[in-house]
Structure formats: structure tokens, C-alpha cells
């Protein structure tokens, strides 16, 4: 039965996109894609161009008829047939590029509208879809890429995530939300799902009920990054696994019916949460789904930032997973074909994508691990990356994105190559880069975040970056903080080198970069940055860095 669109009773304050969604649901554009594929790019109306997001496609820069497509991959779990289908689409239509996103999805570029029917068909044939990977609807679910094989998970969430997707995705009850809507569900005790930056998250928890310990979840609502970052707040409730779908539907219904639709910039669930607070939100949730037990015991003990590189034992005896580093998340179609072959040859065909933009080959019998490590592909997609290369996150940047101000992926490669060639470190430092304030590169949660700006001086126009330090999620979650002093893109690497060497010299045993920043204080870090900028500006390394 169709629900009542309560916000449609008075349309006078709805933004233009809301009117457009009321006129025609976003999901209805999918049928039109087949028509546009015959008529051509020029036939697409401006309104339908906006609605194409629900089909998972956006116009890429410079809006000349090429599209980006995002494919949903829940918890990052793929099989080799799906990987080959993705690789084939990239090879045949996407100029051989495959980008892994910070939500474990996959993105293609260079697609044309006439390619879409065939691409939709290829995805559907292997059980994948781009539908609702974009738009004002529930996006791909972030989760535990190790689900089912993880020694650090309280339960296997694979089936639960599938069940949740069946209830939420392509369901017209939830295809018209006020804004994008991001769900995370993970039972890994190291917060693989980045719970605090999603609209709705389920994190591992336990509670003694009627004398028995029950494994379940805690619920976090209202997180998000973008230009107004906000950490999700935990509700005072405990959710049994069998109640996850009910609770998710309840939270999503609240967002749909009470979320703000007047301004696009004030529509994410975080704004409603900021207004209501967790107590009122929970009260409304209980009205919809019934009573829930109060909060139990949080079982998250830390944050691994979604990194799994290396060879690690699974919870199944005799099996290992091999985490591969994909520098800034980009592989070629040929490499993805090869990964599918390796997954079949050494494992059971399973491939996992990570929100750290990396890849995991699971279910490798221990006796086959050495042979896998000798495969030529693993020399580039190495399980043992250098420290900076292995912890680098990048958004798409102005190569394809209409909103990005600077290039990002090549810049990040040059920065991390430079740092890896000059600093040996035994602790990870996570560097993220955004090409604009919209945070697809999640720079707010980085140890060191870079945000691009375009600078014009007497010497011409150049990319430059603001530097932010001290971000982390998990216990003690906080966003990083901007330092004063914008840095010429070509000088970022030598400036960071000095900052990181200071950390290396002054850190306590086992102290991570973000912990160090907050122990010594921002003023000290700022003074170091000022000194580094002044020193680098006149040094010979400037020329060396520019040559990189």
C-alpha cells in the first residue's frame, strides 16, 4: 500500500528537487534510460538528467555526453563472475578504469547513454545493480568486508545485509528521501563500517537478557561528512539481529516523513538529529517499531580504518585472507580480470572491496598463500605496501568531477611516493585528499587531511591544499582540525615530510599520529607547519618535489 507523502500537503516551501521528485519518482527514470539510449544524449531533459542519479549515473566533467556510474556492492562482497562483469563493462565502455570508492562501491567513467541498456543487463545477469547507488535514497551499504571469515566479528552479517537490502533498496516506500542516505552495518569490533560518519549505523554490541548473553547491535544516527561534518549519536537501545530490518525501516521512515525538504543543504538526517537529539529520536522510533531493550555493552574496541593489507588467518582453520593495496583505489579492467582469475585459482572466487579503497582475496588455503604472493599482479597490488602508499585515500578529483577544484589521485600518488622514498615509519599515517569541500575523500577522518583550492598569484594558477590534522573514528572519534597556511601543491610532500619527521622523533611508544597531535597540541603542530613551509619555500627540495 502506498504511503502518504506528508510533506506534499504543502509544497510552498519545498525545494525544486522535491517538486521534481513529486512529479516523477527517481526510480521511474530507469525505464526512460532505455528510451534515451535510442534517442541519444541530447534528448535527455534537464529534470531527467537530475533523476538519472537513481539509476546510479551522473554526468561527468565536462558534461559532454559521458557519464560516471556507481555500482552498489554491499559490504564489498563480490564473486569472480561479478568481478569479471565489472571488468568487462570497464573494458568495453569505460576506457579500462575502475575506481573503488570509500563506500566499497565501484565507479566507472566515460560511459555513454547508449551503453546503459547493455550495462544494466550485464550487471543484472550477475546480481549487481547501479540503481540507487546515487540519488536521494538509501545508497550502497558499508559493512564488514570480512563478513563470514573474520576472527574479529561477533557474527556473520552477510545474510542480514542482504535481508536489509531487500527491505530497503528499490522499495518505493524509500525511494524519495529528503537527501542521500547512508547505512553501515558491521559486527567487526574494529569499526570497519565507519559507524560515526553514516546516517544510520549498526555496530556490534551484547546484552544480558533473561540471564543469557545476546549478540546484537547498537544504533547510531545522524552522521555525515560533506561541508558540515557531524558524528552520529548513539541511541539508548539494543537491537537483536532479527530486529535490525525493523529498526532500519523505522529510522528510514522517520527520515522520510520528518526530514527537512526545504533546503538541499539542510536535508541530511544529521540536521534532524541535531534538532531532536537522541532521546526524542528514540522515542519516535519506538512509536514506529515498538519497545526496544536499553543499550547493552559496546563491543567496538578500536578502529582499523578499513585496512586489511597483508596475509591474515581467517576464523576458519587453514584459510587466510590476503589484503591487497590499491593505490588511491584505481585498478584497470585488465587487473580486475586478473583478480577474478586469482580468486578462482587460489580461493573460492570471492573478492572483497574495502572502504579504504583496497581489495581482499579471501578463502586462500594456507598452503597456497606463498604461490599467490608470487603472482605478477601482486607486485603492483601488493599486500605489503609502503606505509604512505598503503594508507592513502583520494576522491575522484577534477579529472572527472564537476565540483572538484583540484586534481587529487595523481597528486596523492606523488605525495605518498615522495614520503615513502624519504621516511621509514613503523606506524600507519592515513592521508586523505579531497578536491573540494564535499568530502568524498573523507578528509575529516584522516590523520592528515588535504583539501584542494585553486590559487592564482603573479606566478600563475596552481593547485594548493589546506592541511588538517588529528582525525579518527572509533573510541575517541573526532574530526581533524585545519591548520593555518595553504600549501602549494608541489610543496605539500616536503612540508608533510617535516611534520611527519617531527612526529617520528617526538612520539611516545606506539603513539599514532592523531594521538600525537592531540597530546602535543595544535599550537605546537601549527608552529612546526609554519617552520616547514618557510624552510621548504626556499629549499632545493622544491625543485625535486616538482620533478616528481
Amino acid at each position: 500500500m502506498a504511503y502518504q507523502k506528508v510533506w506534499a500537503e504543502d509544497t510552498s516551501k519545498l525545494n525544486k528537487m522535491e517538486l521534481l521528485k513529486l512529479e516523477k519518482d527517481g526510480l521511474d527514470v530507469i525505464a526512460d534510460v532505455y528510451r534515451y539510449a535510442k534517442l541519444g544524449y541530447e534528448a535527455i531533459t534537464p529534470d531527467d538528467m537530475d533523476r538519472l542519479k537513481w539509476a546510479g549515473i551522473y554526468q561527468q566533467k565536462p558534461k559532454d555526453g559521458h557519464f560516471m556510474m556507481r555500482v552498489r556492492i554491499h559490504s564489498g562482497i563480490l564473486n569472480s563472475a561479478q568481478a569479471r562483469a565489472l571488468a568487462g563493462i570497464s573494458r568495453d565502455y569505460g576506457r579500462g578504469l575502475v575506481d573503488i570508492t570509500t563506500r566499497q562501491a565501484v565507479q566507472f567513467h566515460w560511459l555513454r547513454i547508449e551503453n546503459m541498456p547493455d550495462i544494466f543487463g550485464r550487471l543484472s545477469a550477475v546480481g549487481l545493480s547501479s540503481f540507487e547507488a546515487c540519488g536521494d535514497c538509501p545508497r550502497t551499504f558499508v559493512g564488514n568486508p570480512l563478513a563470514g571469515i573474520d576472527p574479529d566479528e561477533l557474527m556473520d552479517t552477510t545474510e542480514l545485509v542482504e535481508e536489509l537490502s531487500k527491505a530497503i533498496h528499490l522499495n518505493r516506500e524509500f525511494s524519495n528521501l529528503p537527501r542521500k542516505y547512508k547505512i553501515s552495518l558491521s559486527a567487526n569490533i574494529y569499526n570497519t563500517g565507519h559507524a560515526e560518519i553514516n546516517d544510520l549505523s549498526f555496530t556490534p554490541a551484547s546484552k544480558v537478557i533473561d540471564g543469557k548473553e545476546v549478540i546484537g547491535f547498537h544504533v547510531w544516527v545522524g552522521g555525515g561528512l560533506s561541508t558540515h561534518p557531524y558524528l552520529a549519536q548513539q541511541l539508548d537501545c539494543f537491537v537483536r539481529p532479527e530486529d535490525v530490518v525493523k529498526v532500519a525501516v523505522g529510522v528510514t521512515t522517520i527520515f522520510r516523513d520528518y526530514g527537512y525538504r526545504e533546503k538541499r543543504t539542510h536535508a541530511r538526517l544529521k540536521f534532524l538529529m541535531a534538532d531532536w537529539g537522541p532521546e526524542k529520536f528514540l522515542e519516535k522510533l519506538k512509536e514506529l517499531v515498538g519497545d526496544l531493550p536499553s543499550r547493552g555493552t559496546d563491543r567496538i574496541v578500536g578502529w582499523n580504518a578499513g585496512y586489511f593489507t597483508g596475509v591474515h588467518p581467517q576464523k576458519q582453520d587453514g584459510l587466510s585472507y590476503v589484503g591487497l593495496s590499491v593505490h588511491v583505489g584505481r585498478v584497470s579492467a585488465d587487473e580486475l580480470f586478473q583478480l577474478a582469475d586469482l580468486a578462482d585459482k587460489y580461493g573460492n572466487g570471492s573478492i572483497r572491496t574495502c572502504n579504504s579503497q583496497n581489495i581482499i582475496l579471501p578463502n586462500i588455503p594456507n598452503e597456497k598463500v606463498e604461490a599467490l604472493l608470487q603472482e605478477p599482479l601482486l607486485q603492483r597490488l601488493t599486500p605489503f605496501p609502503k606505509v604512505f602508499e598503503g594508507h592513502a585515500i583520494s576522491c575522484t578529483g577534477n579529472e572527472f568531477c564537476n565540483l572538484a577544484i583540484t586534481e587529487t589521485k595523481e597528486r596523492m600518488k606523488s605525495i605518498t611516493d615522495y614520503l615513502d622514498s624519504r621516511i621509514e615509519l613503523d606506524t600507519p599515517i592515513r592521508i586523505h585528499v579531497n578536491g573540494c569541500p564535499n568530502s568524498c575523500g573523507q578528509r575529516q577522518i584522516a590523520d592528515i587531511g588535504l583539501q584542494g583550492a585553486l590559487v592564482k598569484t603573479a606566478n600563475g594558477v596552481k593547485d594548493a591544499f589546506d592541511i588538517f590534522v588529528g582525525g579518527t573514528l572509533g573510541p575517541g572519534a573526532r574530526f581533524n582540525v585545519r591548520l593555518k597556511g595553504r600549501v602549494d601543491g608541489d610543496l605539500v610532500a616536503p612540508v608533510l615530510e617535516r611534520l611527519i619527521l617531527f612526529y617520528k622523533e617526538q612520539r611516545l611508544h606506539g603513539e599514532l599520529f592523531h594521538q600525537f597531535v592531540h597530546r602535543v597540541g595544535l599550537q605546537v603542530i601549527q608552529e612546526r607547519l609554519d617552520a616547514a613551509i618557510a624552510e621548504v619555500a626556499g629549499s632545493e627540495e622544491v625543485a625535486a618535489a616538482k620533478d616528481k
Binding site: 565540483l403 569541500p437 590559487v455 594558477v461
Partner: protein
């Protein structure tokens, strides 16, 4: 067409915040510097102009300028 958020550093003055509609990044730089120069009776020496953000130009689009 994009709505740009720009900072302009003029010699001897506080940072100027400029919002301009422009077709391209270079066009935005030109527009911003022209606007800054128009604001001053005396000749101005622009040291640096920075594009911080751009968004599609739509009715109602804008920026909140924080101090």
C-alpha cells in the same frame, strides 16, 4: 555556469571574500579580481586569489561566509 566562493588577498588589507558567477575557473578569477578592484578608490595590489569552492549555479544557491 558555477557559483564560486573565492578569497582575495590584497596588499595591506584584510582577506576579501568574493562570490561570483562564472563559466570557468579562469573566468571566476578574472571576475573576482575585477570586483575587488572596483571596490577600492585607490589602486589595489592583489597578492593572491583563491577558489575555495564551486557549485552549480541554481536559483537559491549561495554560501554562508564565516568570519
Amino acid at each position: 555556469m558555477f557559483l564560486y566562493r573565492i578569497e582575495c588577498q590584497v596588499k595591506g588589507k584584510d582577506l576579501e571574500h568574493v562570490i561570483v558567477l562564472a563559466e570557468s575557473d579562469l573566468h571566476a578569477f578574472d571576475c573576482a579580481e575585477r570586483l575587488v578592484k572596483q571596490q577600492s578608490l585607490a589602486p589595489v595590489d592583489i597578492l593572491e586569489t583563491v577558489i575555495l569552492e564551486k557549485k552549480p549555479a541554481k536559483l537559491g544557491a549561495g554560501y554562508v561566509i564565516l568570519p
